[in-house]
């Protein structure tokens, strides 16, 4: 990372505020790495397509506590298994963990100091991204989830991060998920908000041998928001980590998912982004086949309209000795306007010889054959287009296991693709 100055005092401003108590060593290390650094510019290879000038121009400050009516965000399957954070602070009255099974720890970080030693220890061997360090230096609170050995949690857990910004603020949600060997969990992580703000969540996941985590990540930030998220998952032998990131909001979003697979492990990083106007959504993923016989799947879909822009950079690394690796990556993109843009790039680094790695990238418009099929059944051209666009997205949504989440997202996608009036919810 170069230190190109973008005329921003963002880092200086944010770091000059008070440092929250606890996790001092984590914070000091992050501050140390941030010393002298500034926001990346388009001259940095990893940020070539994503200009942060607009972000740098806004004077974000540390977020004050706020109260928000959460009734619209409650999910019926998870009324008793939710932790809610508003502006990065835990909201105890909005949270309810009454249905969390015995043995499972599902707490705000601020009350779980025993998780202290585990935080910040999922390491990917490279210098943390600047926004991850910013989170480590300044996060106020977040959630810790610990599931003991062999416990299969029947109810999904709900993590709700809400931001309410009357003036520009910065929030740093933090999550640590540890599943002991053989444990199983379904987690829904949602980000919603109002106003202009910067959200830099960091999620660390550590899965023991044979543990399984299904992780739905919903990004519905406000249209003025910036969302720069980091996800780091270490998957133990024969463990499974399956995540799906669904990006709808934010004027600018960037996801950094990183997954390390041990022997025989399985990893899924699926994504869907629905973009319009001037939105930018960037995903830089890293799938690390560190040991033999691991399987990975990636299906990343973007629907881009208006002057919006989607970026996908999918790195897959097969370490020396990781024989028997099976890695699949697909990037599929639908452009709905002349001014929409997609940049997609697979990046495979394979240091083992007995592996199966496939990747594909497609950028295009709706298929005229498909449109003709629907028109031949009496749908006019607009209806046919909207229905196919909806179908392109619904392909990802129909795999979301929690019914209420699936339904809400389908309705959102229907509204965004003008397919709602067609009444064709599958």
């Amino acid at each position: 990372m170069t230190s190109m100055v973008v005329g921003s005092n963002l880092l200086v401003d944010l770091l000059s505020g008070p440092r929250p108590a606890e996790w001092a060593s984590l914070r000091e290390a992050a501050e140390g790495r941030l010393e002298g650094r500034d926001l990346p510019t388009t001259k940095d290879e990893a940020w070539k397509y994503t200009d942060l000038k607009a972000l740098a121009a806004i004077p974000f400050v540390a977020a004050p506590r706020a109260t928000v009516d959460i009734s619209a965000y409650l999910l019926p399957e998870m009324v008793g298994t939710r932790q809610v954070f508003v502006n990065g602070h835990h909201a105890p009255h909005a949270s309810c963990a009454s249905a969390v099974p015995a043995g499972v720890r599902f707490l705000p970080l601020s009350t779980a100091s025993e998780a202290c030693h585990a935080l910040g220890t999922v390491k990917n061997g490279v210098t943390p991204e600047l926004f991850e360090d910013l989170n480590s230096a300044r996060f106020e609170d977040g959630a810790v989830i610990l599931v003991p050995k062999n416990l299969k949690v029947a109810l999904p857990l709900h993590l709700l991060f809400l931001t309410k910004a009357d003036t520009p603020i910065a929030v740093f949600p933090r999550v640590l998920v540890v599943l002991e060997p053989g444990a199983e969990l379904e987690l829904v992580e949602e980000h919603h908000g109002e106003g202009t703000y910067l959200s830099c969540p960091v999620v660390e996941v550590r899965l023991g041998e044979g543990a399984i985590l299904r992780h739905e990540r919903v990004q519905r930030e406000s249209p003025e928001a910036f969302h720069l998220g980091t996800l780091k998952a270490e998957v133990g032998r024969h463990g499974q980590y399956h995540s799906r990131t669904l990006s709808f909001g934010a004027r600018f979003s960037r996801q950094h998912p990183w997954v390390r697979l041990a022997e025989g492990a399985e990893g899924t990083l699926d994504g869907l982004a629905l973009l319009d106007d001037q939105q930018v959504a960037d995903t830089h993923s890293f799938m690390h086949h560190a040991e033999p016989n691991a399987v990975s799947h990636q299906l990343h879909k973007c629907i881009v309209d208006g002057k919006a822009r989607a970026i996908f950079n999918g790195q897959v690394r097969v370490a020396p000795g990781a024989q028997g690796t099976d890695a699949k990556q697909q990037s599929r993109n639908l452009l709905l306007s002349e001014t929409a843009r997609v940049d997609t790039k697979p990046q495979l680094e394979i240091y083992a010889d007995d592996v199966k790695c496939s990747h594909g990238a497609a950028v295009g418009q709706l298929d005229p054959e498909e449109l003709f099929y629907l028109e031949s059944r009496g749908l006019n051209a607009d209806d046919a287009r909207n229905l196919l666009t909806y179908g392109f997205a619904a392909d990802v949504l129909q795999r979301v296991p929690v019914a209420s989440v699936r339904r809400a997202l389908r309705q959102l996608v229907m509204a965004r693709t003008q397919a709602a009036s067609l009444g064709v919810l599958a």
Binding site: S376, R377, Y390, F392
Partner: protein
Amino acid sequence: MLSIKNLTASINGTPVLKGIDLDIKAGEIHAIMGPNGSGKSTLGKVLAGHPAYEVTGGEVLFEGRDLFSLAADERARAGLFMGFQHPIEVPGVSNSSFLRLAYNKKAEAEGRDELDPLEFDDFIHEKIKLVAMREEFLDRSLNEGFSGGEKKRNEILQMAVLEPKLAILDELDSGLDIDALRVLGDAVNRLQRADRALLIITHFPRILETIQPHHVHVLSGGRILKSAGKELALELEERGYDWVLEASAAGGAR
């Protein structure tokens, strides 16, 4: 019902139909047969309004209206239906919802009442019996993961739902086993009425044992080389297409 006069069409500047004349009256079943690449599927697509084909000459009247003044969806709502050789898959859109949508679009165009989901549920359960489709296929996404035969079954179900005046069935038999072919052939026969017409496009005569045509036409090189009654299908089964092509080249097949 359908009157085709000296129809010519091309794709990417290459002529594919080179002067087709064909009259189809209500109550009739016609079969268009021909070797691969003869232009027979093109004829179906041109009539249904496929955007890749350019009509370069001639005239087609459908119920007295200029067919080419109508967009593909308008043709469908006016009562033209094409059963696709390769139906497409639309994930995320349930089959039954799609069928209801198509039904209601046509009902709306005809000034009939639209059906709400409950009414349509009763309606569609009668229709699936006709094509012996299992109920689970209604809840699945449109054609997604359907086998070739299941897709064809779904095409005929769509036909049964839309009750077209003229149905063009393109290679209905491809991908079907013999039992499924009989079931769908019977269904098509039961849908046929005195005020409806059928145009069967097929390479193999087998399907015409179930759906018996009044007229059989051999299409090759973008022209109809020979027209006769259903006995022509049997002759083609025995002798293949070459003799028609050769006789035509010698100027004697008509």
